[in-house]
């Protein structure tokens, strides 16, 4: 959708093919869709306590006055209680909080009004119908508020994407991540890089177009080269962080594994607070991988229940075991479950040797895999008795039956997942979209070409490519921007 918007804005900027308006256009990009006023229910559909209805456009003030007649507009940006009534029939609709945001200091940059009404479907549809009866108002199309905010320069493209994430944020951590992106932190970072790159490119372009005829200062090219090198380092460091951001958006993969009948399915059901897996005393009950999305301590996670790892069962169960091992390799975090009362059994020992020990030592691809060792069925241990396994690596005691130890497990999960996903409230902003990562990588690759190329026109082309990649995140990057820098930084001309 945003790609479509780009072409739309680009087309608007280039103007129509045949007769153009003969007035001198302002410097800004013509704003699509301005003129009409739109309204929509901005909170979710369905029954809820409060529903928020918004309008944006020049007739917002008129609409607000029409519904709250005979009273005048409330003061800007402060909540007021008003009786809403239908502008035609005068029929009262609801007592509601109303807010008035005169443009340009509003979300879209246009005049906006908000109606915080009671959330019943009858009230909401009544107010929407009343707004529809005000001349000059029409229902908004999907995403139109954000589009207007973007068109008025209120949101950058990264902020728009951040907002889309915010709307779909299902968990607290995702909300924080989305909020940070909306604040434009990724945008600021990218804008900083884009600024450096544009300047370097402008200096190379100046050297090409004016280096021979005009007296550019010494070392223009050398300075551009060192800026490119710094940018390579910064981008490289940021990209190494990138996968964490992605994991946060789609959820970390948490795999529950262990020998048969250790209580894996019980743990999955406990964590997801619903009966995902069938639980029975019979070993080998779970044969396939069962997945369920859960909120683990504020982080989105995909929880997988797997077949108990053992040899020599029937072909169906063997396939289940194969799938379980495959899933273990992809896991961001392994919850290894053992029966606390059965640690000495061959299947337990085998599991400790083949799964738990390697995870601690680091996996073959170099990244050590995270693992939490959980000893279930603590209710079967003699109360107050000694630790059943003093030689084991750090572990947690849990009883899925009584719920004892669950708080400790959740706290440990929170710590582990914060590491896996990256805590969005600390550290540099993460790359939550594959698209961002793609373009940053493209930018970095192009910078590599720049440093390796001798022909200056070819090298400049690599910089242009790199700038183009960043422009896909931040916008900008046009020729005029380059020329502006050239003429600001150099005294060129004859």
């Amino acid at each position: 959708m945003w790609r479509g918007l780009w072409t739309l804005v680009a087309r608007a900027a280039r103007g129509p093919r045949s007769p153009r308006p003969c007035t001198r256009q302002g410097s800004g990009v013509p704003v699509p869709g301005s003129g009409t006023t739109i309204f929509a229910l901005s909170s979710g559909h369905g029954r809820c306590g409060i529903a928020v209805i918004r309008t944006s456009g020049p007739a917002s003030g008129h609409a607000l006055r029409s519904l709250t007649a005979p009273r005048d507009l409330p003061p800007a940006r402060s909540a007021c209680l008003r009786l809403l009534s239908h502008p035609r029939s005068g029929e009262p609709l609801d007592r509601a909080l109303v807010l008035w945001f005169p443009g340009p200091q509003s979300f879209t940059g246009e005049d906006c009004a908000e109606f915080h009404v009671h959330g019943g479907p009858a009230v909401v549809s009544g107010v929407l119908q009343a707004l529809g009866s005000v001349p000059g108002l029409r229902p908004a199309e999907a995403g139109e508020f954000t589009r207007r905010a973007f068109a008025h320069g209120k949101l950058s493209l990264t902020e728009v994407e951040g907002l889309a994430d915010l709307i779909h944020a299902e968990t607290e951590a995702q909300r924080r991540q989305a909020l940070r992106q909306l604040d434009g932190e990724l945008g600021h970072l990218c804008h900083g890089w884009a600024g450096t790159l544009t300047k370097a490119l402008a200096h190379v372009e100046a050297y090409i177009d004016f280096g021979e005829d005009d007296n550019l200062e010494e070392g223009v090219l050398e300075q551009a080269n060192s800026e490119v090198r710094e940018l390579q380092l910064a981008l490289g460091a940021h990209l190494r962080d990138a996968r964490r951001g992605q994991r946060l958006r789609s959820g970390a993969h948490v795999v529950v594994a262990g020998p048969p009948n250790a209580g894996k399915s019980s743990l999955v059901n406990l964590l997801s607070r619903k009966p995902v897996s069938i639980v029975s005393p019979e070993p080998g009950t779970t044969r396939d991988v069962l997945e369920t999305p859960v909120d683990l301590a504020g982080f989105p996670a995909l929880l997988s229940d797997t077949a108990g790892l053992r040899e020599g069962a029937g072909p169906v169960e063997q396939e289940g075991v194969r799938r379980a091992r495959e899933r273990l390799e992809q896991a961001d975090l392994i919850l290894a479950v053992l029966d606390a009362s059965d640690l000495a059994s061959p299947s337990s020992r085998n599991f400790l040797d083949t799964v738990v020990a390697p995870a601690g030592a680091g996996s073959p691809n170099g990244n050590s895999q995270r693992l939490l060792l959980v000893l279930n069925k603590s209710d079967l241990l003699p109360p107050g008795g000694p630790d059943p396994s003093p030689n084991l690596r750090p572990h947690l005691l849990l009883s899925c039956l009584t719920g004892e130890g669950l708080d400790g497990l959740l706290e440990a999960l929170r710590k582990e997942l914060a590491e896996v996903c990256g805590d969005p409230s600390t550290g540099p902003p993460l790359l939550t979209r594959a698209r961002h990562q793609h373009h940053l990588q493209g930018c970095l690759d192009a910078l590599g070409h720049y440093t390796q190329t001798k022909d200056l026109a070819l090298a400049a082309e690599a910089l242009r490519l790199a700038r183009g990649h960043l422009a896909r995140i931040t916008g900008g990057g046009g020729t005029e921007e380059i020329l502006d820098i050239i003429f600001r930084d150099f005294c060129v001309g004859k």
């Binding site: 003969c22 013509p30 372009e205």
Partner: protein, 589 residues
């Protein structure tokens, strides 16, 4: 949505205006009818000459109207053509069989390719030109072009009639009214009036109306265009003083010598008219703090600088250089104006101070201590028409069959003007024949970049070409302009001569043949290394290398290859251009 709404408003407004305009011109139709032409070109500058010649080459009976025939081909500013970006434009004009490149090959006094070290995509062909020779050669060319009539006369007005319903535009131009009241009819009209629309010349606090020093501005025409509803803007530019050659002490200055051999501008020139050793040098000097001082102390005497009209950010006056970049030494190139000219053009010293202060400033500069100023520098302010009012074929949206080219569209520079002239002339002719317009896209040439920038973005400063404006810079090179445009010009338009077409075809087939020969020669890497020790070929590779692969090494050119493998390759180095193009082009795998 926004623009559509405005369009509605515009249509309403234009309809009311149309009635007014037509009423105004109906009286003129009674005037005696002069000869009828296919295309009339108004203006004999760099855009006008190219437009008139191009329309005539396309087979249209063409009339060139100019104030004075003896100013045709006048270089009113710097005595040079080409440069980085501008040289690209000249190559493209030449590929469409335009005039300026050929005339430059017959009139230059110092040929030099800029950016030689920076890659062939950004090489800038440039030459200092003898003003007198250029004018003579251009007039000879124009006055001998078949189908082209040249007539003196000042155009006061346009004759307008009902629009053709199948095209946009509120009316159609069908001829012009001259100052003496006579009329000339034509199917298309190209306007290339340069700085003559309400032109004003400024020296110090003095301002007087003029299109160029000593020439009357066009006021009536400016009035007409405004009445038609064209949006008009104002721009300014300037030119430096001229200095007596014998009063300059060249012996203490840096001397710049021309290239040897000289590279001609035109694809069909084998060489230029003058040997390198007979060419004239240029000299370099610099401004100093004394110059800054004089400029800053006398800003109150300088109305050109005080005005808010936009001047160029490049090619700025010495005043704006001093104001924007203080405490620096600015370059001043001392350029010859011609073989037997006594004048030197101090490039970089464009100034509008009162004349006596200009002389005082000049004599502060190294080498110019005893310099005699022959003519003061001056500023020009003039009207231009917002180029967003024209289509990519340079026809106006408002008036059918009316074309604009050159400075009237907000550009600066001979080459930019010539490029628009060729396109306007071709399209004025095509329009008469009811053929589809000839449009060069951004992917095909700098001409396309120029026109696309102007017609979609407009400009608020005099627009000049730079290579940084071209997105497809690597493929829009000076060397391959013929392969991009000559065939199109020949087949689609007919503006290209048979001789040029055959030359371009020969080059194309020779390149193709050369590539297949280069692909066919295969040796082991160790044998190549022995044949061409200069090349950094790594010997370890087991696969054989083709000559084409070896040519990709930076340090290998056709000459080296032909020395190593003379038998099939020798014939490809007899033509310098062919050998160079085999090396430059990316022939893929």
């Amino acid at each position: 949505m926004f623009s559509l709404r405005n369009c509605g408003l515009w249509v309403a407004a234009s309809l009311t205006k149309k009635r007014l305009t037509l009423a105004r011109f109906s009286g003129d139709s009674a005037a005696p009818l002069a000869t009828k032409f296919d295309v009339i070109v108004i203006g004999g500058g760099h855009a006008g000459t190219e437009a008139a010649a191009a329309a005539a080459r396309c087979g249209s009976r063409t009339l060139l109207l100019t104030h004075r025939v003896d100013t045709i081909g006048q270089m009113s500013c710097n005595p040079s053509f080409g440069g980085i970006g501008k040289g690209h434009l000249m190559r493209e004009v030449d590929a469409l069989d335009g005039l300026c490149s050929r005339i430059c090959d017959q009139s230059g006094v110092h040929y030099k390719v800029l950016n030689r070290r920076k890659g062939p995509a950004v090489w800038g062909l440039r030459a200092q030109i003898d003003r007198k020779l250029y004018k003579q050669n251009m007039q000879k060319e124009i006055l001998n072009t078949p189908l082209l009539t040249v007539q003196e006369g000042a155009v006061e007005d346009l004759i307008l009639t009902e629009p053709e319903p199948e095209y946009t535009g509120k009316c159609r131009v069908s001829g012009v009214v001259l100052a003496d009241g006579s009329t000339v009819h034509a199917e298309s009209v190209v306007l290339t009036t340069g700085t003559f629309l309400r032109g004003v010349i400024v020296i110090g606090l003095e301002m007087h109306p003029a299109g160029r020093l000593g020439d009357q501005p066009s006021i009536g025409l400016a009035h007409t265009l405004e009445k038609l509803g064209f949006v008009v803007g104002r721009l300014k530019t300037g030119t430096p003083p001229r200095i007596a050659k014998e009063s300059i002490n060249f012996s203490i200055l840096n001397k710049q010598t021309p290239d040897n051999p000289s590279i001609p501008f035109s694809f069909i020139s084998e060489t230029v008219w003058i040997k390198p050793e007979d060419q004239l040098p240029c000299y370099l000097t610099h401004t100093n703090p004394k110059v800054d001082e004089i400029v800053l102390e006398n800003l109150h005497l300088n109305s050109h600088i005080k005005e808010t009209t936009r001047g160029p950010r490049y090619c700025p006056s010495i005043e704006s250089k001093v104001l924007r970049f203080p405490n620096r030494l600015h370059q001043v190139w001392l350029e010859p104006e011609g073989m037997d000219s006594d004048l030197i053009y101090p490039q970089g010293l464009s100034v509008t101070l009162p004349a006596e202060l200009q002389e005082k400033m000049i004599t502060c500069i190294k080498g110019l201590e005893k310099a005699k100023m022959i003519q003061p520098g001056y500023g020009v302010q003039y009207d231009y028409l917002d180029p967003r009012q024209i289509t990519p074929s340079l026809e106006t949206h408002l008036v059918q069959r009316l074309f604009f080219a050159g400075q009237i569209n907000g550009t600066t520079g001979y080459e930019e003007a010539a490029a628009q002239g060729v396109i306007a002339g071709i399209n004025a002719s095509l329009r008469v024949k009811r053929k589809p317009p000839f449009v060069v896209s951004r992917t095909e040439g700098y001409i396309g970049v120029l026109i696309d920038d102007l017609t979609t973005l407009g400009t608020n400063e005099p627009y000049r070409m730079f290579t940084s404006r071209a997105e497809f810079r690597l493929s829009l090179r000076p060397d391959n302009a013929d392969s991009r445009l000559t065939f199109r010009g020949y087949k689609e338009v007919g503006c290209v001569s048979q001789q040029r077409y055959e030359r371009a075809s020969w080059m194309k087939s020779s390149l193709e043949e050369g590539i297949s020969v280069l692909k066919s020669i295969e040796f082991s890497s160790s044998k190549w290394k022995k044949l061409i020790p200069e090349a950094s070929i790594s010997i370890g590779k087991s696969l054989p290398l083709r000559a084409l692969d070896v040519l990709k090494y930076e340090e290998v050119d056709m000459k080296l290859l032909a020395t190593a493998v003379p038998a099939p390759l020798k014939k490809y180095i007899t033509c310098r251009e062919l050998a160079e193009r085999l090396k430059i082009e990316d022939w893929g795998c």
